[in-house]
């Protein structure tokens, strides 16, 4: 089974949210995902990187976000990692509409969206150390490729 990977680190600033989406989409494009699959992956990247910037680093631009992407056959494994404050109550954070920052019009939908757009999600977090989210999405095999 063919495999490939990439890793990038970048400053935790809003400009890099769209950059992260573009990088992941460009990398995953080599296995011919559908537009829908690409948009799903871009959405989870956007949510996870936004969380790292807003919550992990509380908008401190000195923070660093690291993304890795692995292609294993038709599966994509993504990790988005920060070394920020960590999540105090992960169970609460995963509840739809729960947010620690309601005043800033945060919807509390980040984790709900991430869970809905991939096949599997695992979250490791430690107070004062950071958060690492691992996503797995299975892409439809593009049969035309093998004909």
């Amino acid at each position: 089974m063919k495999s490939n990977f990439m890793s990038i680190s970048f400053a935790a600033v809003p400009e890099n949210v769209s950059f992260a989406r573009v990088v992941v989409a460009a990398f995953v494009s080599q296995v011919d995902p559908t537009m829908q699959e690409l948009t799903d992956l871009q959405t989870v990247v956007s949510e996870a990187v936004t969380n790292a910037i807003v919550h992990g680093y509380d908008n401190n631009p000195d923070g660093v976000v690291t993304i890795t992407a692995k292609l294993i056959g038709q599966a994509v494994e993504l990790t988005v990692e920060d070394r920020g404050v960590g999540i105090e109550n992960l169970e609460k954070a995963r509840e739809p509409l729960y947010t620690t920052k309601p005043d800033k019009e945060h919807t509390g939908m980040g984790f709900t969206i991430m869970e809905n757009f991939v096949n599997d999600i695992q979250i490791e977090t430690a107070l004062g150390k950071g958060t690492k989210i691992r996503f797995v999405k299975y892409l439809q095999a593009n049969e035309a490729m093998y004909n």
């Binding site: 769209s18 871009q42 919807t107 969206i113």
Partner: protein, 120 residues
Amino acid sequence: MAIAWEQDRYRDLLLVRLIGELDMQTAESVRQMLQEELAKGTVKSLVLNLERLQFMDSSGLGVILGRYKTLQALGGKLLICGANPTVRRLLELSGVFKVSAVFETEDEALQSMGVMTREK
């Protein structure tokens, strides 16, 4: 990719077409623009045309839900049209569809408010 918009006004109805990507980087400018328009107190209905919105995440949902709350306080109404399948899923998940009127096309949204599209 940034964000841009077009506005049209039909009496007390404000139509805004969002173009580009709505995420944490671009959300603030859209929020400000909409909030300034609503603060004038002359808008009773807001139609958001998302047909040319190529990407949106929960930062965009926050902008839309926030403007819904403002409109609600003013006794106004929120209408959404042209959302692509992914944006639709986000709107459904966050409950925006429950509090807004949803249409496939801009014409349908405007007609539901009694606006003929050649009228201004």
